[in-house]
């Protein structure tokens, strides 16, 4: 550190608050609040509104509110899931390579699931 080319002021600034310190905490709770509505709605609506057969579930998903609610549930849930798993990885996986690979996978997997789910809901909704 004594031979660093950076000035002490630069280092102090770099270590200071970036004004984003509580972003993860707030996002985890904001998504949690929405999920307390979205998840029970989805479970009750699909259990009471369909018999699980292909035709009945397709008919359910063609209603705009059901398609929108399913898409919101998937997106909110995957966002919440990614934040939660990130903390688990940071707590337990200490090797730098394993940690980086795990964190990258924890970004890729929810993104892939989100795209698949949204495209699938959209396809059923427009009836292609």
């Amino acid at each position: 550190m004594t031979h660093s080319l950076r000035t002490p002021l630069s280092r102090a600034r770099g270590l200071g608050s970036a004004k984003h310190g509580v972003g993860h905490f707030i996002q985890q709770r904001a998504t949690a609040i929405f999920l307390t509505v979205l998840l029970p709605w989805f479970a009750l609506s699909i259990l009471l509104g369909t018999d699980g057969s292909y035709d009945s579930v397709i008919g359910w998903m063609k209603h705009p509110l059901n398609a929108a609610g399913t898409a919101l549930l998937v997106l909110t849930g995957l966002f919440h899931m990614r934040l939660g798993m990130q903390v688990v990885i940071e707590d337990y996986i200490t090797g730098p390579v394993a940690r980086t690979v795990s964190l990258l996978a924890n970004t890729a997997i929810p993104a892939i699931l989100a795209v698949i789910a949204i495209l699938s809901v959209a396809k059923v909704f427009v009836g292609a």
């Binding site: 998840l39 998937v74 200490t94 699931l113």
Partner: protein
């Protein structure tokens, strides 16, 4: 070494709480919350692949539903449902804590038992709605 993150190559012992403390309800609910959250990663994969099968047509949907209704998958689905019900109930408990309410030891122990019961009862209710109604 300083580039590898705060815990990498750190030889200090990790928190030995599991070996030191006897199990109690508030500790168990904390551990279950994390475990159920990790389990719901599988739940998200099941939900996504189910919607994908639905969008792929009646044959794909029928085949995937037949797979999900096999005994082993039903057992896994019941576990995912219990994890979802528990994580939802205990998540609401966490939101109450974030609002500064429910920290009293007697209250937090009682709500802890309530979330465990909610997880079990919720999973049974969901399966009853799915297969009996």
């Amino acid at each position: 070494m300083s580039m590898a993150g705060p815990q990498a190559h750190d030889k200090r012992p990790l928190s030995p709480h599991l070996q030191v403390w006897r199990w109690h309800v508030t500790m168990a609910t904390s551990i279950f919350h994390r475990a159920s959250g990790v389990a719901l990663y599988l739940g998200a994969i099941v939900l996504t692949t189910w919607v994908m099968a639905l969008a792929s047509g009646p044959e794909a949907y029928g085949a995937y539903m037949a797979f999900l209704m096999s005994p082993l998958c039903l057992l896994v689905l019941f576990g995912i449902t219990a994890a979802a019900c528990y994580h939802l109930a205990n998540g609401i408990r966490h939101l109450a804590w974030d609002a500064g309410k429910g920290f009293d030891p007697k209250v937090s122990t009682a709500t802890g038992w309530a979330t465990i019961i909610a997880g079990a009862v919720g999973a049974v209710l969901v399966f009853a709605l799915a297969f009996l109604a």
